[in-house]
Symmetry: C2
Subunit: 361 residues, 2 copies
DNA sequence: CCGGTATCTTGGAACGATCCAGAGCGCCGT
DNA sequence: ACGGCGCTCTGGATCGTTCCAAGATACCGG
């Protein structure tokens, strides 16, 4: 490389940066352009609009890129295009003693789908104690992310409406239960249908006294799932009265509910339990265990979420499985439309769950 | 503001952008500087080196920042400082039928710790089929991330040495088992000590025939954990022969191992099982279930990882708990040193696990 | 042979922050 | 009173990319 010796002692206004450093400085557009004998813009076009180049030019540029191992600097690109190609996802503290680990599956699917669309997922937390700066606002204002994926609403959190009113671009996993007029895109799983599926399954197995162990009335999701039980039971001509328990989403409640529902005259006892979540179902299993009953033989139990715990516990729990991979794909599709400012005619998308049948039914 | 009117009809080389747009364009350094009556650089200093400013100037600038709701544009900052303030974390497909969901806990802790240090976590996948471009290389070359957190090694994957040889900055969760001379920082949990802890616990409970259900010989981690059993058993003067089984990290192996170890003469039967993972332990529990035995009453079982499944299954599984929150903190500490180019005298850090005692012991 | 058009390529400007060198200014000792 | 010093603050240059408008080239019919 022409070393270009400068006379010592003289102040050199332009240090004459030789564009072909050994390997220390990463290659830039200019480096590639020099190598391929074209201008910067042509290299840029080769990457962003290859159809504009003549085939032989394109080939030459691609070879130069390959040879130098060039990849465009994201910071510079982000600065120019005013977009970061990142989507923010808030991670909540993992709740202990809860079987709800569906986030794992969803997060992975989301990362995969976003990568296909040319994006990446950035994680952040609620921000702890100092509520001074809302992390959503902060990340958006500093252009750290282009949009958010919000999963709060899937527990019925009315967080989304605030974001919507602020003009924050986001896609929700979970329906805007409390605000049917919400304009933001969302994807959700039909919990009602999932429970109905479970009812059918249990009826097919010969059950007629099927109990519901679900959440308290405040929860939209809880009511949705429960309505699947009520409706489908009635469609089968089966009773629901005295077969329902409500409480928190805890093991302890599940256990208590099962004991209460079983502490009645033999004729009134349920022969199967439908649960609003795997956590509750695990509680029910514990109660059966305590009573010397065996799920799958003496009684049937069906959970909801198809968590890892459901898969590995003994006996393995039949559970409603959410199509999280599909959810992620749909979320990313909406994200793409949102960020491209495409009109979004139908902002909602409901997917059907399936039933993972295992030993407890 | 000096409007500097240009003669009409003349081509105006500088469109003279008025710096005070209504609210559509986000504020920049220049906007804030104008508002506070100082220069750009002074605003920059107010954020990055406040001690350089006179208190009253600082206050004025801070008020302007507050008033305009300014936060610095990350892309611009990243471009100038040649760092993204992001760390990459690869997420692997969630393995079904495995109790190993410790990633959830670790990821959250990691996100929290990195935020405290002024960083964020970016997720990416292995890249699927097309191995053409290694995602690590790609992300680093494009300056999308400053460094990586690698968790592969905690399953004994020799992936790390390749990264190290490439000069990729990263911190590993997991020891460089196969390369003690590795120079990269790492954090690990003392699995051997965790198992020794379990042995002590079981001995205290009166057990003397304590079996080991672990992984095949290839696994460094498996051997490490197993050595905790062997060593501590011998220290207690207890036998280990004919009390060990090896296989895959699956439910099925756990179940098979338990059956095999129990299918011997009563005097030779173990009264407790130590497992290399919760997955294996769940398999053991299933086997006991199948034999009409009850863990915690007839036999003791101890797992490893303190997964969610361990917490919610019935009976609840005693398990070795990795201090993932601490691991994350140490990882981030190393990251900070690494990125600040501080010398790292001792690149390794081993943390002690604890035992979560539950019903099965 | 020439002007016009479609195709391909080019250099300059801009994105918004930080680095750098130097300017203004108040304070001190002599 | 003055030079020197330290503390603040300023303006210009820069990071690497994409946008923009205009230049160069090739192809075509008249």
């Amino acid at each position: 490389m022409s070393t270009n010796p400068v006379p010592p002692g003289q102040p050199q206004p332009q240090p004459q940066p030789q564009p072909e450093q050994p390997a220390s400085a990463p290659p830039t557009l200019a480096t590639v352009a020099l190598e391929a004998g074209v201008s910067r813009q042509t290299v840029s076009n080769a990457l962003n609009a290859p159809e504009l180049l003549r085939p032989d030019t394109l080939h030459r540029v691609q070879q130069a890129i390959e040879k130098l191992g060039y990849s465009p600097n994201r910071a510079a690109r982000n600065l120019r295009t005013r977009s970061s190609h990142l989507v923010g996802l808030r991670v909540d503290p993992a709740v202990e003693d809860s079987a709800n680990a569906l986030m794992d599956r969803f997060v992975h699917s989301l990362v995969e789908s976003t990568e296909v669309a040319g994006y990446h997922v950035l994680l952040f937390t609620a921000g702890g104690d100092h509520e001074a700066t809302c992390p959503y606002d902060e990340l958006l204002r500093s252009a750290a992310v282009d949009a958010f994926v919000v999963t709060d609403t899937f527990r019925g959190n009315p967080h989304a409406s605030w974001l919507g009113s602020q003009g924050v671009p986001f896609v929700a996993f979970g329906r805007p239960w409390d605000d049917p007029a919400a304009r933001h895109p969302w994807v959700d799983v039909d919990g009602r249908a999932g429970v109905a599926l479970s009812v059918d399954h249990l009826v097919e197995r010969g059950h007629s006294r099927i109990a519901w162990a679900g959440w308290q009335k405040g929860s939209f999701i809880g009511e949705d799932r429960r309505s699947g039980w009520v409706t489908r039971m009635h469609e089968h001509g089966l009773p629901t009265s005295r077969l329902s328990a409500r409480g928190d989403d805890t093991l302890e409640f599940g256990s208590r509910a099962a004991h209460a529902l079983l502490d009645v005259s033999p004729a009134d006892r349920p022969t199967a339990f439908l649960c609003a979540s795997d956590t509750v179902a695990m509680g029910v299993l514990r109660a059966l265990d305590e009573r010397g009953l065996r799920a799958g033989r003496d009684l049937a139990v069906v959970g909801f979420d198809d968590s890892i715990a459901a898969q590995v516990c003994s006996p393995a729990l039949t559970s409603v499985r959410q199509p999280l991979e599909q959810v992620a794909v749909e979320v990313v599709r909406f994200l793409g439309d949102l960020l491209a400012h495409h009109p979004i005619p139908e902002p909602g998308c409901i997917l059907a769950p399936t039933l993972s049948v295992r030993s407890t039914s």
